[in-house]
Amino acid sequence: MKVRVRFSKQGNMKYIGHLDVMRYFQKAIRRARIDIAYTEGLSPHMIMSFASPLGVGLTSDAEYMDIELRTPIASREAIDALNRVGAEGITVTGFWEVPEGKANKAMTLVAAADYVVRFRGGRVPDIDLSAALEAFLAQSEIPVWKKSKKSEREVDIRPMVYELRQTDDGAVFLKLASGSAANLKPELVMDTLFAMSGVEPPPFAYEINRCELYADTGDGERRSLTPLGALGREIL
């Protein structure tokens, strides 16, 4: 049975990198005695894949991983078992059966992500934020130099910004393209926003929380974003 697990990563767990979160779950799943399936061959490993690696320093309300079970277990029971053996800061909040097949893998499905960026105490930039956001959204094209491991190229990031607004408590909410087809990081949007206002962002100013990951369940013409967890079914 293929299962999607949702968990939050908060507090001090933000210092644990992606590969170590994977190791964490490999051990937690054993401690919780969840009967997970393994790959075949001489060095079998757990069948487990993550929707989207989260960088060190970021927190999240909704990370997703897909696993394969040898013996099914009820959602409620699995969530309780994993949280009972878990470390402070990682909380499993969802456990759903999802359809088989490569096209249904969380990693393949990711199309967008929500973020909230806060400014660390004393590092609030000296600009009119709402005016800057408005000016940003008014552009039809925002060419930005994007660095990758191999090269640096100019990309128009405007179409990858689906939503951008100030929240009631002065933070910035972003809904951005995410995944293999198009991927935009919130830091880059924020840096660009400040550059457009002619301001250097204060160093180490952003505190970023990822709030949700979405699949695009639209018809290809129109985007329709559905949280990855909503594609599964509770196991009773």
């Binding site: 001090n12 210092y15 990198g17 190791r23 490999q26 051990k27 937690a28 054993r30 001489l42 320093g57």
Partner: protein, 621 residues
């Protein structure tokens, strides 16, 4: 959420911040207001090394079983954080509470290898604890050392209030109870130390005075008062099956060196290799019962979720129930995809059969530790491994599908000659030839033989404790001889050779057999930036040479002399069961090349029988 000692900005600017945040599964949280004694347990190296050490896990678990004690961990901050802490004056803290070490009652530091000594000073320094024990005020944590290097604590004597000689399971409770009653009664620090010296196994360096002869050797080593014992007895946990063992060891977030469950199957060794300190100081051999091991294995695997379990001992093949525990683990855990790792196994039919079940033959390698190239020299060091056994083991392994062999040797052993060194190459060649005797169609490509040599360092409480060392140039010459000889072999393309630095060996030699005067050298080198000396990238020999020159200590005095059998050695005041008479006899037999049988074959009267247990009490055939 636990508040961290380091700021978010600092944590995000250093390597592997997870080293400093604690909160791992299995780590113990208590309320500091509800405990009477706080103990900071330290392994003076980076987190990934320190977290891999079994002894720390045993003590951590044992201390925390006491309701009135909270034991926490602290490791050496890596060089990046070290710099930041000094610059910003951030005090060193314990991982669990994140509270400064300076607020603790005890700082316990395990001494597993000599090259960590500057890291000991780093931990004291960053904690804000005066480096010299004599300068510490009343409210400063009591600094206690333990572990194998505490068997010659003298080079560190100036920096420690106490040393615990032997296995931690026995008298820590007494020490804690004494401390608590002293604390309640308002005793001075000196008074507590004075009373602690009465506890067997506890050594208080400040209560002993050393005088030297003009030639630099020790003239006398005496307690400063009548109620201070002249001799310190090593502590031994005789019944291991009943001893506390962690049921839920800490599971680190980041990958550490020993990322697995460690099952200590026995302590001590029957072999009596003459270079090996562990083989002497952990005598007598004591086994854990099979039932006890099964229970420990089950609990630790269930509580940690580790996917690997490793059997730990000095020589696993000598454990009398080895097939029992190995078969149990295979039967019970193979379906759960738990790897079983079996280090320090002798290569024979049983071990090859087991290894073919638990590992991928094509990827894994076989390890032999002949330690010396020639049979003559193997007899000198009492390594009861013959060439015939090695070749037969290799042959069986090659027929079983293996084609990788690792061979470990030492260079610079007592009585060693040019011929002995060349024999290392010849042995590797004969193993390669064994492989190529197998018909081509039956073998798995080329074989890979890796020869590694280290330079021998004479250690206290071994028959070689009187032996001289060599100059760095000599050591490199020894390695070159081996290298040239290997290059002259027919199958040299199948043989790879690795050797170590020579200068670090000499410093290790000074620390291993040094006396109190060496403390000043360590302090001087530390003040000039020596740190993480066990790490090649931070090792700086010139800095050490300067430190020796600066404080006027002659390195050669500690390394180049053949010590007189009647000399008072710095560790003379410690009793380990094994007697000096036995060590002298063994030193004599070594020079004559006479092999001494192992403890199961025949008791040689080493003195460990005084502990009345373990292999000494078992009926011998």
């Amino acid at each position: 959420m636990r508040k961290l000692a380091l700021s978010d900005e600092l944590l995000q600017s250093i390597e592997k911040p997870a080293r400093y945040i604690g909160g791992e599964t299995g780590s113990v949280m208590k309320n500091k207001d509800e405990v009477a004694l706080r103990f900071a347990l330290c392994f003076p190296d980076v987190y990934e090394i320190g977290m891999s050490h079994l002894g720390i896990q045993i003590l951590y678990d044992m201390f925390n079983r006491r309701e009135d004690v909270w034991c926490e961990r602290v490791y050496s901050p890596w060089v990046d954080l070290d710099r930041q802490m000094r610059e910003r004056k951030i005090p060193l803290f314990a991982l669990e509470s994140q509270d400064p070490i300076r607020e603790f009652d005890f700082l316990g530091i395990t001494l597993q290898y000599e090259m960590c000594y500057t890291n000991v000073l780093q931990v004291l320094d960053l904690s804000g604890i005066p480096l010299r024990a004599a300068d510490r005020p009343q409210d400063c944590p009591i600094v206690i050392g333990g572990g194998p290097c505490a068997y010659n604590p003298e080079p560190l004597a100036a920096f420690f209030d106490l040393f615990y000689i032997g296995e931690g399971e026995t008298v820590y409770d007494r020490l804690f109870d004494l401390y608590l009653s002293c604390k309640k009664g308002g005793c001075s620090r000196q008074e507590f130390l004075r009373r602690a010296a009465q506890i067997p196994g506890i050594y208080v360096p400040s209560l002993y005075e050393v005088r030297y002869h003009e030639d630099g050797t020790i003239a006398s080593f005496l307690p400063v008062a009548e109620d201070v014992p002249a001799v310190v007895e090593k502590q031994v946990q005789m019944d291991l099956s009943d001893a506390p063992y962690p049921e839920a060891p800490i599971v680190p977030f980041i990958k550490v060196t020993q990322d697995r469950v460690v099952l200590e199957i026995q302590r001590g060794c029957i072999r009596g290799c003459r270079f090996c300190q562990a083989g002497m100081i952990y005598r007598p051999l004591r086994e854990r019962s099979l039932d006890c091991l099964k229970e420990h294995a089950d609990r630790m695997l269930a509580n940690t979720g580790h996917e690997e379990i490793s059997l730990s001992s000095l020589s696993s093949s000598d454990y009398s129930e080895l097939p029992g525990i190995v078969n149990y683990l295979i039967d019970r855990y193979q379906d759960e995809k738990i790897n079983i790792s079996l280090p320090s196994l002798r290569i024979d039919a049983f071990s090859l059969d087991v290894m073919s079940k638990v590992q991928d033959v094509r990827k894994s390698s076989l390890t032999f530790a002949p330690e010396a190239g020639s049979q003559r020299l193997r007899d000198v060091i009492n390594k009861g491994l013959t060439e015939e056994v090695i070749l037969q083991g290799a042959d069986e392994a090659f027929h079983g599908g293996w084609n990788k062999v690792k061979l470990y040797f030492m260079l610079g052993l007592p009585t060693e000659t040019e011929d002995d060194r060349k024999e290392i190459a010849h042995l590797a060649e004969r193993i390669a030839e064994k492989y190529y005797e197998i018909p081509k169609e039956q073998r798995n490509g080329k074989c890979q033989i890796t020869v590694s040599t280290s330079f021998f360092v004479p250690k206290p409480f071994t028959p070689f404790q009187w032996a001289p060392m060599f100059q760095p140039g000599d050591y490199l010459g020894f390695a070159k001889t081996v290298n040239h000889e290997i290059k002259a072999m027919k199958n040299q393309k199948s043989i790879r050779y690795n050797w170590h630095h020579a200068d670090v060996t000499l410093l290790e030699g000074v620390f291993a057999r040094g006396d109190r005067r060496v403390s000043e050298v360590i302090l001087e080198a530390y003040r000039h930036g020596a740190l993480y000396d066990a790490w090649t990238e931070y090792w700086d020999y010139d800095r050490w040479l300067q430190a020796f020159a600066q404080v006027g200590v002659d390195m050669d005095f500690y390394t180049m002399r053949t010590r007189d059998l009647n000399e008072i050695l710095p560790w003379n005041f410690i009793r380990i069961g094994v007697t000096k008479e036995f060590l002298k006899k063994e030193w004599q037999r070594a020079q004559e090349g006479i092999v001494t049988p192992n403890c199961r074959e025949k008791c040689s009267g080493c003195g460990a029988a005084a502990y009345q247990g373990g292999v000494c009490a078992a009926r011998r055939a």
